[in-house]
Amino acid sequence: MNDESQMTNGEHDANAQSSIRHSSFSFLNSIRWRLQIWYGLILLALLAGFGATAFQLWRGSTYRRVDDELQRRVNDLSQLFRPPQPFRNRGFEGPPGQRPFNRPPEDQSPDGPPRGRDFNFDSSAPREFHLPPQMAWLFDETDTNAFYYVIWRRDGSELARSSNAPAGAGTLPASTIRVREQTRNQPPDAPGIRRGPPAPLPPVMSGKFREIEMFMGERILVGRSIARQMADLRTIALELSAVGAGILLLGLVGGWWLASRAIRPIEDISATAAKISGGDLTQRIDVSETESELGRLASVLNSTFARLDAAFDQQRQFTSDAAHELRTPVSVMLTQTQTALNRERSAAEYRETVESCQRAAQRMRRLIESLLELAKLDAGQQAMKRSPFDLAQTARDCVALIEPLAAARRVKLICDLPPLECTGDSERLSQVITNLLTNAITYNKENGEVRVDGAAKDGSVILRVSDTGKGISAEDLPRVFDRFYRADTSRTSGNTGLGLAISKAIVEAHSGQIEVASEPEKGTVFTVRLPLS
């Protein structure tokens, strides 16, 4: 990621994000941190949304309760300034049966409540106003948190003010009042419209006070300190934030734990893989507690590591064996040439030296050819032809070729083969048969015999080469196909110790099997089994 691309990100979020990317490039690359950040952001958005909604709902209902009360009071008060019309009493929601204008006169103190004529529709300016006692419970003037009212005459002069009304109540700027005048109905001399029941203006906040006003000639204001509600709301907001923060923290901790748990196997895997790439191929991932998809991955990796380990081991062993096998001919050449060059020699001596070097070199050549062949077979580069042929005919050809060797060792060759049609590379398989025959003759006893027979059954062809030699001991038997393994641990036989390994590789490249059975002092049987197709 280059700086260029970061800069072209959206202006708003780019600043914040790019600074994170700059400062903590590596930890944004960590899956755990990315999970954690996404998780945290989503949780934060959810919590903030829920919290804000809950708070709004709460605040709305609080205000609505206050507003309802305010509205009721301003309506009640406005009743007092209206001519007694039957329908208007519907709006009055005071205690049942209380009708301020129909009250008996005993309720009216001399200086107290307004007279009926004070509220005369046509009266332009009531001189004074007293709250009717039946409405006193609506305005508890001793409590600064209770409802208060202020009433102005039409000319703007104050008619009445409850004692708990704050000093600032109703002292709205003149412009605001004008606007409100306009928004309420018409000026007083537009009687047609004023007939409808005047409605209060929407409640407004004035500092810590919630107030509602109504213009109906007189201006009536009812308000209430909502300091307590606001304090309650603040408390609620704090509580919501605290709970939200708690949940967020809990969520982040839980998310971290989950992410760590999910990622721990990955860390195990990468730690083990690091050790292995450091050369310690014996390391394995602990799969005991990873039963998940990662567990399966770990198992797959483990088996890969095991195969790598085995392959490396085999390679190491093979290289060391190959080096070991090359040491002897090289030693021969070195000692021969160093001795020969020590002083002047006769032509015969030089000849002997050169012959000996030639033998060593030929041995090395055989070894190198075999090693290359094995390496190719190992790598699967040696393509096997897949053509139908008669294995019996191939075997007979091999027997014919090896006859002189058998004659020289006075070993009798017996060939008894039915037709063995199969598919494969006849040239490579004749190499196998020749090798088995050579071994059978070489390790046979004088006047012994080598028998080649076979059969076709169960979807495969079987070829057997049995000898009457000294056999192979039980402890050597499982290892005869190993590379460089020689039962007699000597090199005098002149073979490379790779013949059977190569034979096995060729047969297995044909999806076949090669087996050996032996009885000491009686003989050895090699069995080659090839699938028909």
Binding site: V330, S331, T335
Partner: protein, 216 residues
Amino acid sequence: MRILVVEDEMDLLRSIAQALREEGYAVDTAANGEDGLFNAQNSDYDAIVLDVMMPKMDGWEMLARLRKTKKTPVLMLTARDQSRDRVRGLDTGADDYVVKPFDLPELFARLRALIRRSAGQTRNVIEIGDVIIDVAGRHVARAGEAVPLTAREYALLEYLALHRGELVTRTTLYEHLFDENDSTMSNLLDVHVSNLRKKLGPEFISTRRGHGYCIE
């Protein structure tokens, strides 16, 4: 000095034996562990060169059996150069080892050192009067002047010098100077001794009549 070489690779066996003979050693050979053990147990060799990988009985086995009766210095020839193989060889009783493929000069140097140590000598130079024998370079000087010696004469001198002060019987000398291929004439030894006396002084080797020879 008589040395036994046990090695199953015939070309290698022949060339080592030939090279050692040309260095003046008497050399016996064996192509497998069984023959080697038989030879080693029935003659007193000054050193044995022993291959590890052999048919019938490998070098380790032969060494282990030999050590029950003989202290002959043994130098192992091995194609394995892993440390556990070297440790095993040395622990079994080998005195030194050489990893194949080796250089002949190194093999000779190690053999000389082995023989010198087994005779209790720590230096490569033996001084007897005005005669100085350089075992490493196989030179002999008398009063600062080089004395030319044949390989046999040198071998005889070196053996007697390494066993200075000891009475060395004629039989011992025969055993250590001639290998099984030599058809030794009984007077050959006397010829070599008289030649050495001519070159190094008549009193250099004293004769104990009927017993043997000695360098005082």
